[in-house]
Amino acid sequence: MNTVQQIRFIWKPIVFLLCLVPAVLVVTDAFEITGRLGANPVEEIQDRFGYWALRFILITLSVTPLRRLLGWNWLPRFRRMLGLFTFFYAFMHFLTWLVLDRELRLADITEDITERPFITLGFTAFILLLALAISSFAAIRRRMGRNWQTLHNAVYAVGLLGVWHYWWQVKKDISEPLIYAAILAVLLGVRLFWYSKRKKPG
């Protein structure tokens, strides 16, 4: 087996299963097999999916810097899967909000999106992610040609909106959002740095 095959048939399935662990734990904790969801399970489920969406967007955004800094040229082969797991967790977070928190009440949903800035941010990030997820099919990607990369640059906006959404959601203590923001700043910062160097002659 060559490296490409190894990645495809061994490492990708392993990474796929690892990425599913947080979602599986939500289910097994709900049945109190591995742990528990606590006194307010809906809040716990919503928070966990939200946290994992944020973590996966940061993981996805670290693919390019890690490849360049460490020379891991095999790493981009996992990028689409990681990006789709970002979408998966964001979608579960969104669904929890829609069904369990807002109880599918249309008036409550529109009020949240239009009147609560942190939800406007999160909802916008989710819509962008949805567009990225749909256009990740190889057939669509081919059809989009150069537009595909333009659209997928929105991943940076998703990172910014997601962390901003979390920042505005917390009640008072911003120390945790700050950690996410710092990591995002580093990931976007190195790109800006490389970009500025590329433009300058010499």
Partner: protein, 319 residues
């Protein structure tokens, strides 16, 4: 003073005679709790709060709701008590060794009787009552909690506030050594709260010292905390060490932190949204993942007892 009673009192709920606390039992109960009988483990282990010292001679109150109280597990593992951390289960994990004895309460300000009192001495003049109250958190969740406590109105009258006393202010213990959250700067410590004198002398508020007939778990604000059932939970200041009668309105911590989101009054009001979420409905803790939320009631359902306090107040501006 005319005490308004709720319309839904059944005759069977009214005790025929006042019960008095067996003070020695109460003091001993406190001493045992203070001596750390409690050894909570990680969440998921057996909840040790069921082993807390029992309180005795607790009178039944006509103000209790007949809704089913939440489990002690829910009540003692899902807490906002930032002195012990920001997560809901942090107080449960971090308040295990909190020392609630010896404990002193300083009463000061515009009152005839002032001074610093040992906890048991402070409690002596008052009778214990069980008050099963709805508790509505500003975060849009709610519980039903079977508190054991003493009437705040009686406490206020006992210290004989002067005519200048328009407000009662409270402070939580501020102890960096015992409270990991105080080392962080999530709020401007100590935690502060206050009530108008009219609110404080309403028959509903209590100073709670127990839950389910046993002394308060540390994470619920042991040894003594405020409960004001028609206000959002953050008004219920925990582990009180100072009570001050004031002529001017005292500061309260959440209002100091984010004045746009948290006011002084903090009355439960489904019609006034928090800037970041609606207050129209609430999630009942313990109802399960797929349970519907329930409608939030004006003044958390205690309007009959308290609405008159605010008849001249614009509740949209004085949130």
């Amino acid at each position: 003073m005319l005490i308004k009673k709720p319309s839904d009192i059944r005759p069977s709920e009214i005790t025929s005679e006042t019960n008095y606390i067996n003070r020695r039992d109460f003091i001993r109960a406190g001493a045992i709790a203070g001596g750390s009988l409690i050894t909570p483990g990680a969440i998921g282990a057996v909840i040790p709060e069921a082993g807390l010292a029992k309180l005795s001679d607790i009178a039944v109150s006509p103000f209790s709701t007949d809704e089913t109280p939440n489990s002690i597990e829910d009540i003692s593992t899902y807490n906002n008590f930032y002195e012990f951390g920001l997560g809901k289960d942090d107080p449960f994990k971090n308040a295990e060794d909190f020392r609630t004895r010896p404990w002193t309460i300083e009463v000061s300000g515009e009152a005839e009787k002032t001074g610093t009192f040992d906890f048991d001495e402070f409690m002596k003049p008052f009778d214990l009552e069980e008050r099963i109250y709805r508790m509505r958190c500003v975060e849009a969740w709610s519980m039903v909690i079977p508190w054991v406590g003493i009437s705040l109105a009686e406490v206020v009258r006992h210290f004989q506030p002067t005519s200048k006393a328009n407000y009662v202010a409270f402070e939580t213990l501020n102890d960096r050594d015992q409270m990991p959250g105080v080392r962080g700067r999530s709020l401007d410590w100590p935690y502060r709260e206050g009530l108008t004198i009219a609110e404080a002398t309403n028959p509903l508020p209590i100073l709670a010292v127990g839950i389910y007939g046993r002394v308060l778990p540390n994470q619920n604000g042991a040894p003594i905390r405020l409960v004001v059932p028609w206000k959002y939970g953050f008004k219920g200041i925990k582990s009180i060490v100072k009570i001050r009668f004031m002529s001017t309105r005292p500061k309260n911590s959440w209002n100091m932190a984010i004045p746009r989101e948290y006011g002084f009054y903090a009355n439960v009001n489904p019609k006034v949204s928090h800037p970041r979420w609606s207050q129209a409905r609430e999630r009942k803790i313990g109802a399960g993942i797929f349970a519907d939320k329930q409608d939030t009631l004006m003044f958390n359902g205690y309007g009959e007892q308290v609405a008159h306090l605010y008849k001249d107040l614009d509740l949209h501006r004085n949130y």
